[in-house]
Amino acid sequence: MASQSRKGGISLPERRNPKKDESKSIILRISQSEIVARGKQAATDAAFVTKKLLKSTSKAAWIAGTTFLILVVPLIIEMDREQQMNDLELQQASLLGTPSSSQK
């Protein structure tokens, strides 16, 4: 029908059942309206930004994680060991009643 109307310029059948045509044109109008186009644009932009953000955060997380692994994890382990040794020594000292600095 659309092709007919294009061919014949203004034709009667289009006017005869305007209801059907109007519903179509509404969909068409909605899909071609500025709001939808803007929404689409916004959605793609949001997707792009999230992708970028995700990428950069994952990179930042990777750098932070590896840095943490190198700088902090050994420190925690060693502090823990030191603490354990202190506790052990304290325990021994309290058991024996003598400073246990000569052992080991």
Partner: protein
């Protein structure tokens, strides 16, 4: 147990002047009885100790055996990739392995060190106390490549509140430095050098402020270098260090921050700098005279990751 904690260089960290304690109590500074400053070349000693551990990549094994009280032999094996300088931004690594043999003679008055590597490099060092105040230091490096051998002769004179050094090197290198204690905590110094072969000369100044809790140093030189460092000793075991380097000629700036933990069983040093470089160095004491070393360095910007492990046996 606690006494054997500091693994190698820890003893050098202790603040040198013990006299300031007394003068502080008196509230009046005796300017004729100032402590001797530390040598000009070691002005950043504490900061360097915390921020510049000997990071390496690969495997190393060091063995030192004392033959008698004064004489010892050392053997060392290194295997791993070494970086080769290239024009492109990417570093090229070539796997290498070498063995180093060394002989040391240590006497209070005379110290001799010799090192020879399988690739033909020879390093010799002499430190000799000529009198109580005058120390002679010599350093020679011989290689089989032409024009890469170096020789250096230093005369250090140590006064009651100043130190001065005269330096002679091959390639017509002359240098002199002087450092003077101004107050019990503050010392200032300067240096001049002239390299005849490269037709270069320069002058530099440095200042250092140290108390038993912190050390702050600053150095400028006519080569365009500005170096500032600050070390805070949180406790006997922990010190935090930061430094700032600026080169006026090449316009590059680096700032770094590091920690240095000296625990009973280990020494751990970590640092992070503004070039995106993270490094950690762990020396773990497994047994008496047996140390295990772990070294890690991440360069996030260049994506260059270096890991190394090693074992040190004896001393």
């Amino acid at each position: 147990m606690a006494a054997l904690a500091p693994p190698t260089t820890a003893t050098a960290i202790l603040p040198e002047p013990a006299i300031p304690e007394k003068t502080k109590a008196d509230e009046k500074v005796d300017y004729f009885n100032l402590p001797c400053p530390i040598p000009y070349e070691e002005i950043h000693r504490e900061a360097l100790m915390s921020l510049k551990p000997e990071l390496f990549e690969g495997m190393r094994f060091d063995f030192t055996k004392g033959l008698n009280q004064k004489f010892s032999l050392s053997h060392s094996v290194f295997m791993g990739p070494t970086e080769v300088p290239s024009q492109s931004a990417e570093t090229i690594k070539i796997p290498t392995a070498h063995y180093e043999f060394g002989a040391n003679f240590i006497d209070p008055k005379l110290m001799l060190f010799g090192r020879i590597l399988t690739d033909g490099r020879l390093n010799a060092r002499v430190k000799c106390d000529l009198t109580d105040n005058l120390i002679l230091k010599a350093n020679a490096q011989l290689t089989n490549e032409p024009h890469m051998s170096h020789g250096m002769l230093n005369f250090d004179y140590k006064g009651s509140d100043f130190r001065t050094q005269f330096q002679l090197g091959n390639g017509a290198l002359f240098g002199a430095s002087y450092i003077q204690s101004v107050t019990p905590h503050f010392s200032m110094g300067g240096e001049v050098f002239w390299a005849g072969q490269h037709r270069k000369s320069g002058i530099g100044y440095a200042a250092r402020f140290n108390t038993d809790k912190m050390v702050a140093t600053g150095q400028v030189a006519s080569t365009g270098m500005v170096a500032l460092s600050y070390v805070q000793k949180i406790s006997e075991k922990v010190s935090l260090a930061s430094d700032f380097m600026y080169n006026y000629m090449s316009r590059d700036v680096t700032a770094s921050f590091g920690y240095d933990y000296i625990l009973r069983q280990c020494r751990l040093r970590g640092k992070i700098d503004s070039n995106g470089c993270v490094a950690a160095f762990l020396e773990e004491r497994l047994n008496m005279g047996l140390n295990f070393i772990l070294s890690a360095e991440l360069d996030h910007r260049k994506k260059d990751y270096k890991f190394g492990f090693g074992l040190t046996v004896g001393e």
